[in-house]
């Protein structure tokens, strides 16, 4: 895959904060409202309107910083970043420049091979989102008119900037998923990519493996899902490698990712880079971030994914990879913990297996989110009990599980209603085995000829006759007995 090249990636991730109101005014921060209904003189930048910092946004960025292992700056100071765009009412974005609120953090990712890696966070700063442009036409250039919705203007955003520590699309994907988990766990953001509450710019360069210097980087904008990001990284790395191997030089550029076409296109070159004329925001004097506030936020942090992973590994012997899958969503962890609580710690691995295999498969097929887990921990615990005491087989259990998804019934009720109890009664099973052997002279002959797998085939027939309710071990034993009896009789 690498062909002697190394890909170097740094990410700038924009995340909308889950505050009730916008960052500089009291307008509601909600997705999907009628256009231009959540607006006021401040977020429309009417003459004379002034910004006031939303304390809750300050708390949430500190929370994000602490959850991402950052240092917290003890002063909140803001700058104006000047540029003209129709979705930006003030003509400048209020952001942070030399003193981001959080700096020097990291995120630990776990790869499929079980190894982990630390991706360093350079800084996290607070700023406001812009409005949303709607073009009447296929794109901006073809549009004969454009409309602006300012409901999003002034929504609090944090920008999380990583160090160039990411080395592949896979690592980038793991990082973004982990980041998402942490931000959701802490309630910092809903992180709904489809609603634009998480957006990502990618800085990417390539260099020969083992090289000490970084290559020239390009910035990819407009990436709004994990899958798109991974695809964009692979495309862009290949593009840069092609240029270099053809004897060319990679130019420092800002490019736009067009996922529909699977390509990146040039937005602007380094020469065209805009001068944002940053200067301290005179409407927002710097405010001290009290030790007390940081302490309060720290105390409010929930158990974070890394702690969950360590706990599931330590307490239940789960693999790092399995533990990290459960840890992706807080709801999954809660579900796992409740199921283990009900089924007993010795069933923890079984709980994990059911959760990771059956449950996630079904949820995936049906497009359920983590807040829509269709089986209760209590239902799973009941099912495990039936398997454990031999009432049902593992195969039946999968059917029962599927049936639980579509009903609120517990496993025992389903088993009873559907007559799925495992048949371990040797007399009735022996009768079936003997009859099958009598009725199938062909396979019997194969058995005589020494083909031992015929026993498995007969066992399958027993299972079929009993609609899977037979205890497989018992059935196999009785089938072999019946075959031996039959050949002995001859």
């Amino acid at each position: 895959m690498t062909n002697g090249w190394e890909t170097v990636v740094g990410l700038e991730v924009h995340v909308e904060l889950a505050t009730e109101t916008k960052v500089w005014c009291g307008c509601k921060n909600e997705f999907g409202a009628e256009p231009n209904t959540n607006v006021c003189p401040v977020c429309l930048a009417l003459p004379g309107a002034l910004p006031v910092l939303n304390e809750r946004a300050l708390e949430l960025i500190i929370k994000a910083g602490l959850a991402l292992n950052c240092q917290i700056e003890r002063v909140a100071s803001f700058h104006r970043k000047n540029y003209f765009y129709p979705d930006l009412p003030t003509g400048y974005q209020i952001t942070q420049f030399d003193l981001p609120l959080c700096y020097d953090g990291y995120v630990e990712i776990t790869k499929a091979d079980g190894t982990s890696k630390r991706i360093r966070i350079e800084r996290i700063h607070l700023e406001n989102d812009a409005g949303k442009l709607l073009h009447a036409g296929d794109d901006v250039a073809a549009a004969h008119s454009s409309l602006v919705d300012f409901n999003r203007a002034g929504v609090p955003l944090i920008e999380i900037v990583t160090k160039p520590d990411i080395r592949s699309a896979e690592e980038a994907g793991l990082f973004l998923n982990k980041l998402r988990s942490i931000l959701k766990y802490t309630g910092v953001s809903d992180v709904k990519m489809e609603e634009g509450s998480l957006r990502c710019d990618i800085n990417i360069s390539v260099r020969p493996e083992g090289a000490a210097e970084y290559g020239t980087r390009c910035e990819l904008k407009n990436v709004n899902s994990v899958a798109h990001m991974m695809r964009a990284i692979e495309y862009e790395a290949a593009r840069q490698i092609d240029i270099i191997t053809a004897g060319g030089v990679v130019e420092q550029e800002t490019r736009s990712w067009r996922n529909d076409r699977g390509v990146s296109v040039l937005l602007r070159t380094k020469e065209d880079a805009e001068d944002y004329r940053y200067f301290p925001e005179p409407d927002l004097p710097p405010v001290a971030v009290a030790e007390e506030l940081v302490g309060k936020v720290r105390a409010s942090l929930p158990e974070l994914p890394d702690a969950v992973i360590e706990r599931l590994m330590g307490d239940y012997g789960l693999s790092r990879y399995d533990a990290s899958l459960i840890a992706t969503e807080r709801e999954y962890v809660t579900w796992f913990d409740e199921a283990v609580e009900l089924a007993g710690a010795e069933q923890a691995k079984a709980v994990a297996n059911w959760q990771l295999n059956e449950l996630f498969r079904i949820m995936n097929e049906r497009g359920f989110g983590p807040e829509q887990i269709p089986v209760t921990p209590n239902q799973l615990a009941g099912l495990l009990k039936l398997i454990q005491d031999g009432t049902i087989t593992g195969k039946i259990a999968k059917d029962v599980f599927e049936k639980m998804v579509d009903s609120d019934l517990d496993a025992a009720t389903i088993v009873k209603r559907e007559g799925l109890t495992q048949v371990s009664d040797e007399d009735s099973l022996r009768e079936i085995a003997r009859r099958l052997v009598a009725e199938n002279p062909g396979p019997v002959q194969q058995w005589i000829d020494g083909k031992e797998t015929v026993a498995q085939w007969f066992m399958g027939q027993v299972m079929k006759e009993t609609r899977g309710r037979a205890n497989p071990q018992v059935a196999l034993k009785l089938v072999i007995e019946a075959l031996n009896e039959h050949t002995a009789e001859r």
Partner: protein, 493 residues
């Protein structure tokens, strides 16, 4: 009796109304008639809110009839500079950009005026976006000086100053970024007060330079100015730069007395460029203060001379960003027949803004460019710190400072059209006060060349009430503020 209503102070009008000697509607109508009579010669107003003024007056009369509590400005007509938002009223900021713009909310000071029972009679003319010190940068014609209609009234709060001086309103609201209240007050012979930065909320004031702008009162005497100040001042959660201090309630003793009060005279403010007659009036004012028991001594503010240069970096820098919102997208002027967004911006702003505004936007955009930022903007901020430190140092020794408000009297209209530098220099005594965020008041201290001269008293941060007490004491023993401008005596009613 009603013919003379416009000669009364705010305090007197309020008293008459509260005692039932005159109705609010009578007051409103008398002042609206006065506006109509004087406006053709003065041009102080851009919008007269006659209907809502009468409506407010009716409500006040009903309140009084019902025995409900009446505010401290009940029945007092007030004019508001056209860069301060009055809900539902056109707000032009003196610019073509906002010629037809009706703003949908009240500035905090306007809200407080309304709550205090003031009758807002209109919006006053000003230099475009408060950039100027003559009034000539208004996109809607120049306000005249009531002392000589061939001369400028000063600026940028030209209409507010001229309307108070011409007895068209007893009180007016202005804004002061580098002298825009004090200088026109001096040039029209009235009281103009710039409070400590942060004392009065800026919410609803179209920003020129956010770190320098401050709203303040115009009145004909210090007592009225203090009354208006006490209503508009005080903490506002909508302005993050608003100081968390209660509204001041200046009190005045029965007798003027400045015994033991120490005044400093910064020698840099009396140097070259000051008109000899203006200097003479200042000397007389010093003698008057000494007669009241004050001690006056020379002092030095060595960095103030760099203040002008720092100001003309910081102001354009902040203004260039503050005026970016006027882009034709959401409100205000929008150019027609444009091919794309970029052309819309360029054409809209080229058409909508006047020369001085464009000049300052260009300067501001340049000084903030990343390659010269340290050389200009950062350096200017350093100078600003030094200017402020000078004041802190002299205030260890003195209670207040005496300077001229303007080194010269009102100049003829059109004289300095092509000389922005000379116009800028007129603000040399007022600008350092804004850089340091201090309170300063201009009071009339006589006449030079037949035109009013202003005495500027500069106070300590948040000691605004004390500063007003000094100015009040001075006015108790002087008569300059009672002299009527010729426009009034010629004009009759």
């Amino acid at each position: 009796m009603h013919d003379a209503l416009y000669n009364l102070s705010a305090t007197e009008l309020n008293r008459l109304f509260v005692r039932g000697q005159v109705s609010a509607v009578e007051i409103a109508e008398a002042f609206l008639a006065r506006i109509e009579a004087v406006e053709p010669r003065l041009h102080a107003f851009l919008t007269v809110t006659a209907d809502s003024a009468v409506e407010t007056a009716r409500e006040l009369d009903a309140k009084r009839a019902a025995g409900e509590p009446l505010g401290p400005l009940a029945g007092v007509p007030v004019a508001v500079k056209d860069n301060v938002a009055v809900d539902g009223v056109r707000m032009t900021c003196g610019s073509k950009m906002l010629a037809e713009y009706v703003i949908p909310y009240d500035a905090t000071v306007v809200r407080r005026l309304k709550d205090a029972g003031a009758i807002i009679v209109g919006k006053t003319n000003m230099d475009e976006f408060a950039m100027g010190s003559s009034g000539e940068n208004s996109a809607f014609g120049t306000t005249r000086n009531p002392w000589d209609t061939a001369r400028v009234p000063g600026g940028s709060s030209s209409g507010s100053a001229a309307s108070v001086a011409a007895r068209v309103v007893p009180l007016a609201i202005g804004s002061d970024t580098g002298g825009s209240i004090r200088q026109p007050a001096a040039l029209t012979g009235i009281v103009g007060f710039k409070p400590t930065y942060g004392y009065v909320s800026r919410y609803g004031l179209a920003a020129l330079a956010s770190s320098l702008d401050q709203i303040g009162p115009f009145a004909r005497d210090v007592h009225d100015a203090a009354r208006l100040f006490s209503i508009i001042a005080g903490y506002d959660p909508l302005d993050s730069t608003s100081a968390d201090v209660p509204a001041p309630q200046p009190e005045f003793p029965s007798e003027p007395d400045l015994k033991g009060v120490r005044f400093g005279m910064p020698r840099e403010y009396f140097g070259e460029g000051i008109d000899a007659e203006v200097k003479a009036r200042l000397d007389e004012a010093v003698a008057t203060l000494q007669d009241l028991g004050a001690e006056v001594e020379e002092c030095s503010l060595p960095h103030s001379k760099y203040g002008l240069q720092a100001y003309y970096v910081i102001l354009p820098a902040e203004a260039s960003a503050n005026l970016a919102r006027f882009d034709g997208v959401r409100y205000g002027h929008r150019a027609k027949d444009v091919a794309d967004v970029a052309e819309m911006y360029v054409k809209t702003r080229t058409e909508g803004f006047g020369h001085e505004v464009k000049r300052r936007i260009m300067i501001g955009t340049y000084v903030l460019s990343s390659d010269v930022y340290d050389k200009y903007y950062k350096k200017a901020q350093q100078i600003r710190t030094l200017v402020a430190r000078d004041f802190d140092r002299v205030f260890e020794e003195f209670d207040a400072l005496i300077t001229p408000t303007s080194p010269e009297v009102a100049w003829p209209l059109g004289e300095r059209h092509d000389d922005p530098i000379r116009t800028y220099a007129a603000d040399v005594c007022t600008i350092p006060v804004n850089l340091a965020g201090l309170p300063a008041v201009s009071v009339p201290c006589g006449f030079a060349h037949g035109l009013p001269v202003g005495l500027q008293l500069v106070g300590k941060r948040f000691e605004d009430s004390r500063l007003l007490q000094f100015a009040w004491a001075y006015q108790q023993v002087t008569e300059f503020h009672k002299v009527q401008p010729p426009l009034n005596t010629e004009g009759g009613r």
